[in-house]
């Protein structure tokens, strides 16, 4: 809906405008008034969602950890691996959310320096996400072999 409004206002500016020097402030004004708050809300929501996913995964992991304490020690070791695997899955999902939020934030960044920092963070996240997924795969095969 916001996108349609932006396009409509931009078209109005193009029709009214006398030259390129008049279009650019209007477009930037539209971006400031519509796009920036919209992306801010969206990234805020995604960040909160990622935080909640990690928080809930941690709570579930702690509850499972408390539950396994009554088991014999040999079973505890295997159950701890399973709990860790579940926590890693939650982390992976949250990381994907964060990467999505970072990609949205690139729209707002004006300078090359900030964009470089963000690119580095996204790069680290992608590498971490890849290594975590590899670890989950490896663990799943180990658990299958053991059972």
């Amino acid at each position: 809906m916001d996108g349609i409004v932006i396009v409509a206002i931009a078209q109005e500016g193009l029709l009214r405008g006398t030259g390129t020097e008049n279009q650019s402030p209007l477009v930037s004004e539209v971006t400031e008034s519509f796009l920036v708050p919209y992306i801010n809300y969206l990234t805020f929501g995604i960040d909160i969602a990622a935080g909640l996913i990690i928080g809930l995964s941690a709570i579930f992991a702690l509850i499972s950890f408390i539950k396994i304490l009554i088991k014999p020690i040999k079973e505890q070791t295997q159950s701890k691996e399973t709990i860790r695997l579940n926590l890693t899955r939650g982390m992976l999902l949250a990381l994907d959310f964060e990467i999505g939020s970072d990609i949205l934030k690139t729209i707002l960044l004006p300078s090359v320096r900030e964009l470089t920092i963000l690119a580095a963070i996204v790069g680290i996240r992608i590498v971490l996400s890849w290594s975590l997924s590899k670890e989950i795969e490896r663990h799943s095969t180990v658990i299958k072999e053991e059972t």
Binding site: P37, D47, G51, A58, L62, I73, K80, L87, I124, L128
Partner: protein, 137 residues
């Protein structure tokens, strides 16, 4: 949502979550340490009383105790890794802010912590893998 947003600080929310996860990690470490001390003392007491044949089975029990302890530590490290992922999320929020001086300081500090946690995790994972191989062979 739009009315609430100026009054909600995302950094505060995420720092509260990270604080809770830190407490979880500390509790997991504490429980693992207490459990290991308990089982080790039990093992020592049993090995003093048992015969030579029974001692070979108690050695495998010692390995299980060690493995359980290391797995507990890795679980706590996983909590810390989750924590650092959340903290990294706060930096990207700070990137949008114009205060670049505070960004660079906090970014470098937290990035160092993040790399440290990940490298410790990898090191412990490697040592646990070697430990498992040694026990299986």
């Amino acid at each position: 949502m739009s009315l609430l947003l100026p009054y909600i600080n995302i950094e505060d929310i995420i720092f509260t979550i990270t604080l809770v996860i830190d407490i979880f990690a500390i509790s997991v470490i504490a429980v693992s340490v207490i459990q290991t001390i308990y089982y080790l003392s039990l093992y020592k007491f049993k090995s003093l009383l048992s015969s030579a044949a029974a001692k070979t089975t108690s050695i495998s029990n010692l390995n299980i105790i060690q493995r359980n302890f290391v797995t507990g530590f890795i679980l706590a490290l996983e909590f810390e890794a989750a924590n650092t992922i959340l903290k990294m999320g706060v930096f990207t929020s700070l990137v949008i802010d114009k205060s670049s001086t505070t960004l660079s300081d906090s970014f470098i500090n937290n990035f160092i912590i993040f790399v440290m946690v990940i490298s410790i995790r990898i090191a412990i994972k490697q040592s646990l893998g070697r430990f498992k191989k040694r026990n299986s062979s």
